[in-house]
C-alpha cells in the first residue's frame, strides 16, 4: 500500500515535470512542401542568370563582347561558391517575369529594383544596393531642373520601375514619354538629340556618362530612392535562401566589398 502511494506521488511529479517542460516548447512548424529548386540547380550544374545586358555597371556587354558588371562578378563568385557554372542570358527586360516563371532563367540578377509588385510576384533576396531615380540631359540642354522638363521628350526603359515611377509623378502629364527596351539605347538617342531627357537609375547614369558620354549631365533632384535585389521564382525558397546565405558570407568575408571597390571605388553595398 505504501509503495502504491509513492507510485502515485511519483506519477504526479512526472505529470508536473511534463507540464513544465512543455511550456518552453513551441509548436513545430508545419512541414513544408518539398522544395527542389536548389537541388535542381546543383543537378544541372548551372545557374541561369537573366539580365538586361545594357545596364552598366551592373551587367552589360563590354568592348570585347563579354557580359561583365558588378552583379555579374557577384553572381560569378556566388555560383563558384555554390559549385555550379554561371550562365548569363540576356533577356528582354519586359519579359523577365514570364521567362523566370517559364523556367528559361533561374534568377533575375541585374540591378533589379525592389517594388511591391515584384516582391509579390517573385522571391527576392535581401536588398544589396541603393539607387536614386534621376533625369539625364545633354550638357548644352536648356533644361536646368526637373520642372524645366515641361513639354520635352523623355525616354524611359520598358518594363522598368523607372517607367512606373514616371507614370505616377506630377510631371508625367507635361512630358512626351518614349519607351525603349534598354537604357543604353535611350542614352544614345539622347546624345543624338532624338530625346531631351532620360529617366533612369543614378547608378547607371553616372557610370555611363563617365565611361561613354561626357556630353551628358544629371539634373539636380530625384524622383525617389530604390533598392536592388535578386529575384527568384516565388516557390524557389531553397535556392533563394542558399544564394542569400552565400551573399551574407561574401559580405562577411569582404568579397562583396572587394567587388564593389572594383566597380565603384568604394564599398557601397547595403546588404545587412
Amino acid at each position: 500500500m505504501k509503495r502504491n502511494a509513492f507510485k502515485q506521488i511519483l506519477m504526479i511529479f512526472a505529470v508536473f515535470s511534463m507540464l513544465f517542460s512543455s511550456v518552453g516548447c513551441d509548436k513545430n512548424a508545419p512541414a513544408e512542401e518539398k522544395d527542389l529548386s536548389l537541388q535542381a540547380v546543383l543537378d544541372a550544374g548551372q545557374l541561369v542568370l537573366g539580365l538586361d545586358a545594357s545596364f552598366p555597371p551592373m551587367g552589360f556587354i563590354d568592348d570585347e563582347n563579354n557580359i561583365v558588371g558588378f552583379d555579374i562578378d557577384v553572381a560569378e563568385e556566388a555560383s563558384f561558391r555554390l559549385g555550379v557554372k554561371l550562365v548569363k542570358k540576356p533577356i528582354n527586360w519586359e519579359e523577365k517575369e514570364d521567362l523566370l516563371n517559364a523556367g528559361e532563367i533561374d534568377c533575375i540578377w541585374n540591378g533589379m529594383s525592389v517594388s511591391a509588385a515584384r516582391a509579390e510576384s517573385m522571391n527576392l533576396s535581401g536588398s544589396y544596393m541603393k539607387n536614386e531615380m534621376i533625369f539625364v540631359v545633354r550638357k548644352d540642354s536648356d533644361i536646368k531642373s526637373i520642372s524645366g522638363l515641361k513639354g520635352k521628350a523623355v525616354g524611359v526603359q520598358s518594363g522598368s520601375t523607372a517607367q512606373e515611377l514616371l507614370q505616377k509623378s506630377k510631371i508625367y502629364e507635361d512630358v512626351t514619354v518614349t519607351s525603349l527596351a534598354d537604357n543604353v539605347s535611350l542614352l544614345t538617342a539622347l546624345s543624338q538629340e532624338d530625346l531631351d531627357a532620360v529617366f533612369l537609375d543614378s547608378v547607371v547614369a553616372y557610370y555611363y556618362i563617365v565611361s561613354f558620354s561626357e556630353d551628358l549631365l544629371i539634373l539636380p533632384g530625384n524622383l525617389g530612392e530604390e533598392e536592388y535585389a535578386v529575384g527568384f521564382r516565388k516557390k524557389d525558397q531553397a535556392l533563394r535562401d542558399k544564394v542569400q546565405e552565400i551573399l551574407d558570407e561574401m559580405r562577411q568575408d569582404g568579397k562583396l566589398a572587394e567587388i564593389s571597390v572594383k566597380w565603384f571605388g568604394s564599398d557601397i553595398t547595403t546588404l545587412k
Binding site: 500500500m1 509513492f6 530612392e225
Partner: protein, 487 residues
C-alpha cells in the same frame, strides 16, 4: 483487513488532492510570473524603443541639417556648372554658403568645400598643403562611388579643430565634381551620453551602415568596427542586427551569460540607433520570489508526502497490532493441544446461548474412555496422543459446526444444530473412527457420550448437565461391560 485497506486508499486520495491543490497554486504563481515576466519584457522593450526612437529622432534632425545644407549647396552648384559659371564665381558662392551655414547652424558645420571641375575649392578659406591630393580623400572617393547619393565619411578627429567630425559629401550632376561639408559630432555624442546617463538604458550606440561606431555612451568605443568578427559584444549585436528584416526591431541577446534586450532603429542614412538594456538584473529581481515560491511548494509537497507515507506506516502498524490482538484472542479461546476451542470459549458460549435459548440445538458431552489407564501404563505422551486422537475423531465426525470444545482433560463438548438422525450419524461415524483408529501408540479406543437437546430446557447449563449425566451413565455401562469382559 477490508476496513483498513479502504483507509489506505483514502490516504492516497487525500495526498493526491492536496498535491493537486498545491500544484494548482503553483501553476497560478507560475502563470502570474510569466505575465509579469512578459510585461517587464514589454516595459524594457518599450523603454528601449523610447530611447532609440528619441535618439534616432535627434540624430535624424541633427544630420538632416547637414544633409539638407549639402543638398541645397549641390543643387545650386549643379545649376552653376550647367550655366558654365566660372571657377571664381563658384568659389565666391562656396565662401558665401560657408558663412551662411556656419551662422545658421552654429558650431556644427565648418565650411563648404569640394572638387569642382577638377579643381579644389574651399569656402572656409583653408589653404591645403602642397601634397594635399583632394581626389584621394575619402570624402571624394565615397561620394564618387555613391552616384549622387550623400556619402557619410568618418567619424575621425579633425586635423584642424581636434574634434570628432564626420564629412558629408556628394557627387554633382556633371559626374566629376564633388562637394562636401564637415559636421562636428560632439553634440551627437552628447545626446547619446545624456540618454544613457538618464539611466534609461545601459548603452546607447549609433552605428553607420558598415557597423562602425559613430557615437557610443562609452566614448572609448567610438570608431570601433563592430562588423569585425571578434566575438566582442558589439559584434554579437551586429550579428543579431543582420538577421533583422524590419527598420525597427528588438531582440534579446546572450552575452557572457547576461541577457540583453536591444532595440534598433535604422534611420534615413542607414545608420542604426541602438538602445541596449541589461535585462539580467531586472529579471533576476523577478526570478528570486518565483524560485522561492517553487522551492516552498516543493518542500510542502515533499513534507506532505513524507507525512502521508508515515501515516500510512502507522496505519499498517495498527493493523498489525490488531491482527496480533485478534490472534491473541484466538489463542485465548483455543486449546493448544487439540486446536479445538477451550473451556473458556465453552463457558462464554453457554452464557451467550442462555440469553436466548434456541430450541433445536444439541449438546453432546464426550469423554475418552480409559485415559487414566493409558497414562499410568504408557505414560503421558500416550495419554496426550489419545486426547489428540479423540479430538481429531470428534472434529471429523461433526463437520457441520465449529463449536467443538475441549472442556476438561479428556472431556469434550459439541454444540450443533440438526436432526436426531444427523446426530446419530455423526456419533456412529465417531464410534467407527475411534474403533479403527491407528496411531503411534494408540490403536482403537472409545469415547462415551451423552446427547441432550435444548428442547424443554430454560438454560444451557441444565442442557449440559443433562448431557453430562447421560454421558456418565454410558461410561458406567461401558466400564461395567469391560469388567464383564474381564470376568
Amino acid at each position: 483487513m477490508k476496513r483498513s485497506k479502504k483507509t489506505g486508499l483514502s490516504v492516497v486520495q487525500n495526498l493526491v488532492i492536496t498535491i493537486f491543490i498545491i500544484l494548482f497554486f503553483l501553476g497560478v504563481v507560475v502563470a502570474y510570473y510569466s505575465v509579469l515576466d512578459s510585461e517587464t519584457r514589454d516595459n524594457i522593450t518599450k523603454n528601449g524603443e523610447l530611447n532609440a526612437v528619441s535618439t534616432a529622432y535627434r540624430i535624424d534632425k541633427y544630420l538632416s541639417l547637414g544633409v539638407n545644407a549639402l543638398k541645397l549647396t549641390s543643387y545650386t552648384l549643379d545649376s552653376m556648372i550647367h550655366d558654365n559659371c566660372s571657377q571664381e564665381e563658384i568659389l565666391n558662392y562656396l565662401v558665401a554658403q560657408s558663412f551662411a551655414t556656419e551662422s545658421t547652424v552654429t558650431g556644427q558645420i565648418n565650411g563648404v568645400y569640394g572638387v569642382i571641375r577638377d579643381e579644389y575649392l574651399d569656402g572656409s578659406g583653408w589653404e591645403p598643403d602642397e601634397d594635399f591630393v583632394p581626389t584621394e580623400r575619402p570624402w571624394f572617393i565615397e561620394a564618387k562611388a555613391r552616384s549622387g547619393k550623400v556619402a557619410i565619411v568618418g567619424p575621425y578627429i579633425d586635423a584642424m579643430t581636434g574634434n570628432v567630425t564626420i564629412t558629408l559629401s556628394r557627387r554633382l550632376g556633371d559626374t566629376k565634381s564633388v562637394v562636401a561639408i564637415d559636421i562636428e559630432m560632439d553634440q551627437l555624442q552628447q545626446t547619446v551620453e545624456d540618454v544613457a546617463s538618464a539611466g534609461a538604458s545601459d548603452a546607447e550606440i549609433i552605428l553607420n551602415s558598415n557597423y562602425q561606431v559613430i557615437a557610443h555612451s562609452d566614448r572609448d568605443e567610438i570608431g570601433n568596427d563592430y562588423f569585425k568578427n571578434d566575438n566582442s559584444f558589439g559584434n554579437s549585436i551586429v550579428n543579431m542586427l543582420r538577421k533583422q528584416t524590419k527598420k525597427e526591431s528588438y531582440f534579446s541577446l546572450e552575452y557572457n551569460s547576461n541577457e540583453y534586450i536591444v532595440y534598433a532603429i535604422t534611420i534615413e542614412n542607414d545608420w542604426v540607433c541602438l538602445s541596449v538594456i541589461n535585462a539580467t538584473t531586472v529579471f533576476s529581481k523577478l526570478r528570486v520570489p518565483l524560485i522561492l515560491t517553487i522551492i516552498a511548494a516543493m518542500s510542502i509537497i515533499i513534507i506532505l508526502s513524507l507525512l502521508m507515507a508515515n501515516s500510512n506506516k502507522k496505519d499498517a502498524f495498527a493493523q498489525k497490532m490488531e491482527e496480533i490482538a485478534n490472534q491473541q484472542t484466538e489463542y485465548a479461546y483455543r486449546d493448544q493441544m487439540t486446536g479445538l476451542k477451550n473451556r473458556r470459549a465453552y463457558t462464554e458460549e453457554l452464557e451467550r446461548l442462555s440469553g436466548e435459548l434456541p430450541e433445536d440445538l444439541f449438546v453432546i458431552i464426550l469423554d475418552v474412555n480409559g485415559l487414566k489407564k493409558i497414562n499410568d501404563n504408557f505414560g503421558h505422551e500416550a495419554g496426550d496422543e489419545l486426547i489428540i486422537a479423540a479430538a481429531t475423531c470428534i472434529r471429523n465426525a461433526f463437520t457441520d459446526t465449529d463449536d467443538v470444545y475441549r472442556i476438561g482433560g479428556d472431556e469434550f463438548c459439541v454444540i450443533t444444530s440438526g436432526t436426531e438422525e444427523d446426530i446419530d450419524g455423526s456419533l456412529n461415524l465417531l464410534d467407527q473412527s475411534t474403533k479403527h483408529w491407528k496411531g503411534v501408540r494408540i490403536n482403537s479406543f472409545s469415547v462415551s457420550y451423552g446427547v441432550e437437546t435444548t428442547k424443554g430446557h430454560s438454560d444451557m447449563e441444565s442442557v449440559a448437565m443433562e448431557a453430562d449425566h447421560k454421558m456418565y451413565d454410558r461410561k458406567n455401562s461401558y466400564y461395567k461391560s469391560i469388567e464383564k469382559d474381564r470376568q
